[in-house]
């Protein structure tokens, strides 16, 4: 689910941060720039993992900024293909189910990636899975297991004048997942005992 990415960058330390330890000032600077942001084709940056090297600090003309060239490793959220993860169902539409993790909510399970026999329940606005014996609900806020199938990147760099800007802005990083296999779907179906399942159905 997480990887380390090696990055080289120029860090500019502001004079007001001169009372911090140098390493701490660089760490704060890097985190402020990258943390909780998506780099295209890399993933969602979490935070600095470790600092590999840093050059001497150089002050340029006209500003008091100290310029440091650094190399560091970053913790990045980037699930690999076919990775199994756990998340929460946030909502459902006839097109499919939306899943969110506390820090990332761009995961979508299309309706055709649900197990055969699944259908959308218009009254409850949830998906149900009809097995031969029972009807099981994909309730909202339920913990589910899913498999990552595809990732989609949408570059959000602004386009120049004259070019047509994309009207609906898409999230920079979205994931498509599936819940077809047995063992996928709400954790309570598989981990729970029989009576627990019935409990869920009443709710």
């Amino acid at each position: 689910m997480f990887i380390l990415t090696k990055i080289a960058d120029l860090v500019q330390v502001k004079p007001e941060d001169f009372d911090k330890e140098a390493s701490q000032a660089i760490e704060d600077n890097i985190n402020a720039k990258y943390s909780n942001r998506v780099i295209q084709k890399i993933g969602l940056c979490v935070c600095l993992y470790d600092l590999l090297s840093a050059s001497e600090g150089l002050i340029g003309h006209g500003t008091g900024l100290v310029n440091v060239n650094v190399e560091f490793r970053m913790i990045v959220f980037r699930p690999f293909k076919h990775e199994v993860m756990i998340g929460t169902i946030s909502s459902a539409t006839p097109q499919g189910i939306r899943i969110r993790l506390n820090f990332f909510d761009q995961i979508f399970v299309p309706a055709d990636r649900l197990p055969p026999g699944s259908s959308f329940n218009d009254k409850e606005q949830v998906f149900t899975w009809n097995t031969s014996e029972t009807e099981l609900y994909y309730d909202n806020h339920e913990k589910v297991r899913f498999r990552i199938e595809e990732e989609h990147w949408h570059d959000q760099t602004p386009v120049g004048p004259g070019k047509e800007a994309d009207e609906n802005k898409l999230s920079p990083y979205t994931l498509t997942a599936s819940m077809e296999d047995s063992g996928m779907g709400p954790c309570l179906w598989w981990d729970g005992e029989a009576e627990e399942e019935e409990d869920q159905m009443v709710m």
Binding site: M1, L4, N31, C47, R73, L101, R145, D181, G183, W190
Partner: protein, 185 residues
């Protein structure tokens, strides 16, 4: 910015978790020190910054959400007592040597801690072709031995409670939904 290596290594949830927790402790201590230093010096010009720490806010938000996610049932990191330690991953690799598992599969085993055959089947591709059934059961035993066994009762309870709580929150926030439902009926 220049990417030198897109993927230098892969991390398990446990490693990310310990890194974040250590970082939080370190930052909190730093913030406290800075605050007490300033109040001792009575530096008025820093009064604004006194209120909040000087660590970036986007990091604090993400760290809080990520730790919440990592600790939520049924994640093994949320069970008590804390099941993993420094040696756990090494021990697991040692114990899993007889099975020919890929790196991704081992990472998922650490992250998800499967306890049932259904869960293991999801993680290990084409498990039935690769391992005979007694091997699969033995694998489960090894995992439980090294990573510990979850308290399933508590885990299920926590999952149900969390879902209920979230549902209640939504209902409190949007009474409109109720109205629409009444209309429909």
């Amino acid at each position: 910015m220049k990417i030198l290596e897109a993927q230098a290594a892969t991390l398990t949830n446990y490693e990310v978790y310990t890194h974040l927790v250590d970082q939080r402790v370190r930052h909190e201590k730093l913030d406290d020190d800075e605050r007490s230093q300033r109040s001792a010096k009575k530096e008025w010009k820093h009064r604004r910054q006194n209120e909040e720490g000087r660590r970036p806010g986007n990091l604090n938000t993400l760290r809080k959400e990520l730790l919440e996610y990592l600790c939520e049932a049924p994640s093994p990191l949320g069970s008590k007592p804390f099941p993993y330690g420094e040696q756990t991953i090494r021990n697991l690799l040692e114990a899993l040597r007889p099975w020919d598992l890929t790196k991704g599969e081992v990472i998922m085993i650490v992250n998800l801690r499967p306890t049932k055959l259904e869960n293991l089947n999801v993680i290990i591709e084409q498990m039935d072709d690769r391992f005979p059934e007694e091997d699969q059961v033995r694998l489960l035993h090894v995992i439980a031995e090294v990573l510990g066994r979850p308290n399933q009762e508590a885990e299920r309870q926590a999952m149900t409670d969390n879902a209920k709580e979230a549902r209640n929150k939504v209902q409190e926030a949007i009474p409109l939904e109720d109205l629409e439902m009444n209309e429909a009926s």
